[in-house]
Amino acid sequence: MKINSFRVALSLVAVSAAPYSAPAQTKLNGAGATFPAPLYQRWIAEFTKANPNVQINYQAVGSGTGITNFTQGIVNFAGSDAAMTDEQIAKVKQGVVLIPATAGSIVLAYNLPGVENLKLSRDAYAGIFLGKITKWNDPAIAKTNEGVKLPDTAITVCERSDGSGTTFVFTKHLSTINSDFKTQVGEGTTVTWPIGVAGKGNDGVTALIKQTPGAIGYVEYGYAKNNKLTYAQLQNKSGAFVAATAESGAATLNSTQFPPEILRAWPSDPDAKEAYPISTFTWLLLYKKYDNKEILGALKKFVTYGLSDGQKFADELGYVPLPKEVAAKSEAALKSVE
C-alpha cells in the first residue's frame, strides 16, 4: 500500500518532468522600464498578429531590474529610461547597442479647482520642488499668471517613492536649470526630496494629485492625459511658456545632438522657442551579438516594426513619436546588431 503510493508519486514526478514537444515558435523575452511598457505591449500585440510564429514577452519591472537581467543574460532585450552607463555597458560580454525607441514628456500636473492654463516660470517650479515656494499665491507664481485668482492654499508636492526614469529625467532637468537644486538634491533615479509626499509609480503620484487639493507632481504626459489631470505650461530656455504636446515634444527631441559613437543623450534644457523643456527618449537595449540566428532575426524584425509602423501608436498612447532623423539613426544602429 505504502510502496504503491510511493510508486504513484514517483511516476507523477516522472511524467511532469518529461519534456513536452515545443511548438515551432521563436520566443523573445524582454524586461525593463515601465514607462514605455504600454506602447511596447501594443507593438507586441500588433506584431504577433502579423507574425504568429513569434512570441514576445515584455515585463515592466523597472529600468534597473531590466539592466540587471540584461547583464545576466536572462532576457533577449531590455528597456531603459536611463539608457545604460559606460560602466554598465562594460559588464556585458556580448556588447550593447542602445536604440532610442520612443520618447515622452514629463508634465507638472496640479489640483487647483477653477485654475486652468497655469503658467510656471523656471524659478517657480524649481522653487516649488525645493520647498521654497509653499503657497499657491506666492508672488513667484502670481507674476506669470496675471488675471488668475490663485488661492491661499498650501502646496503639496507629490513625487515618486520608487526609483524611476521619470525622476531621473526630471531631476536632471531641474539640476540643469537651477544651481541650488543641483547642490541640494542632485539628479538620480531616487533622490531625497526636501519636501512632499511620495507615491509608487506614475499611477501612485496621479492618485495623490487627484486626491489632494493644492497638490502638484511630476508624471508622464500619457498618464496625465489618460487621467484627465490639469497640467501647467512651463517656461523653456528661450523664455516662452509651452504646454506638453506631441509637437512641442518633437521640437525638443529634434534639438538633441547624439555623440557619434553611441545614441545616448538627454535634452535636459532645449534651446528652441517652441520646445517643451522636459522630454526624453527611452531606449531598447540589444546585445551586439546573438548566437541564436532565429532570435536575432525575430528581434530585428520586431524592432524594425516598432521604429517604423509602430511609431503611429505613440501619439494616441501619450508618447512623442521619434523624429525622422532619430528613427533613421536607430535603424542604422539596429543594422549593426548581428
Partner: protein, 319 residues
Amino acid sequence: MSETAVETSTGNEFRKRRLRFDLFLVLTWVTSAATVVTLVWIVWSILQAAFPAIASTGFGFFVNSVWNPNRNIYGVFPFLNGTAGSSGIALLLALPLGVAIAIFLSEDFLPAAIRQVVRFVVELLAAIPSVVYGLWGIAVVIPIVQSWGGFLTQHFGFLPFFAPPATGNSMLTASLVLALMVLPTITAISRTALVAVPKTLREGSYAVGATRWETIFKVLLPTAAPGIVAATILAFGRAMGETMAVAMLIGNSPRLTWSLLSPAGTLAGLLANQFGEASGMQVSALMYAALTLVLMTLLVNIAGELVLRHTQKTIAGIR
C-alpha cells in the same frame, strides 16, 4: 505452542509499526531541517549581498538619518522610526479594542449564535488582501485624516506629534489602517486564550463572591495573559512586516519627522519602493535594510517568547 505463535505475530506487528514510525520520523526530520536550512540560507544570502554596505556604513547605518541613493549616503534611522512608530501606534489602538472584543466574545452576553457571527466577521478581516486595505485607506481614511488633520494642527500644533502641515498620506493614516489589519490576530488569539481558562477558576471566583467584572479583570485576564501577550507579539510582527497597504498610505518620505500628520516611511516600504530600480551600492544598502527588518522581527519574537515563558511560570501556581 499457540502462545509463542501469538507472541511472534505481535512481535512482527510491533516491528512493522516501528519501521513505519521510523519512516515518519525521517520524514519529519527532513522537513523540519529543511525549514531551518531555508531560514539560514535566506539570512545568509541577504547578509552576503548586504556585506559591501555593512563594510562601508557599519553601525552608522542605523543612526544616520539621511537616505540619499544619488549621493551614496545610506542611513535608515527615519525608516526604523517609521516602522516602530506605525506598528507601535497600531498596537496601541488595536490591543484594547481587540481584547475587549475577545472578552465580549468569550462571555455569554449574547446568545452563542450571534457571538459566532460576530467572531466570524472579525476574523474575516484577516482574509482581506492588504492591497484592498490600501485602496480602502486611500478612499476612506485619507480624506478623514485630511479633514481632521487641519483641526489638529491648528489647535494642538504646539505638540511635536501634531506639527503642521497636515497631509493625508501620513504616519497616522498608516497606523489607523494597520490597527484594523492586526485586530483579527489579537482578537482571535486572545479569545482562544480566554476560552481556555479552566471553568473551575471562574466558578471559584464566583464562589468567593466576586462579581462578573471582578472575575474578568482579576481572574480571567491574568490567567489568559500569556495568550494575549502572544497575540500582541504576532500582531506587532505582522504590522512591522506589512508592506503594500503601508506603502500606499504612509507617504514614503525618507525625512525624519515626529509629526503623526507628516509623511513617513517604513523599512518594508523602502524595500518595495526602491529595489526595482536600484543598482550597485544601493542594492547592497537595501539588503542591509532587509537584514535589519529580519533581525527586528526575530528580536521581537524572541522577546515575546521570553515574556511568554516568564508569565507562564508565574501563573503556573494559579492553575
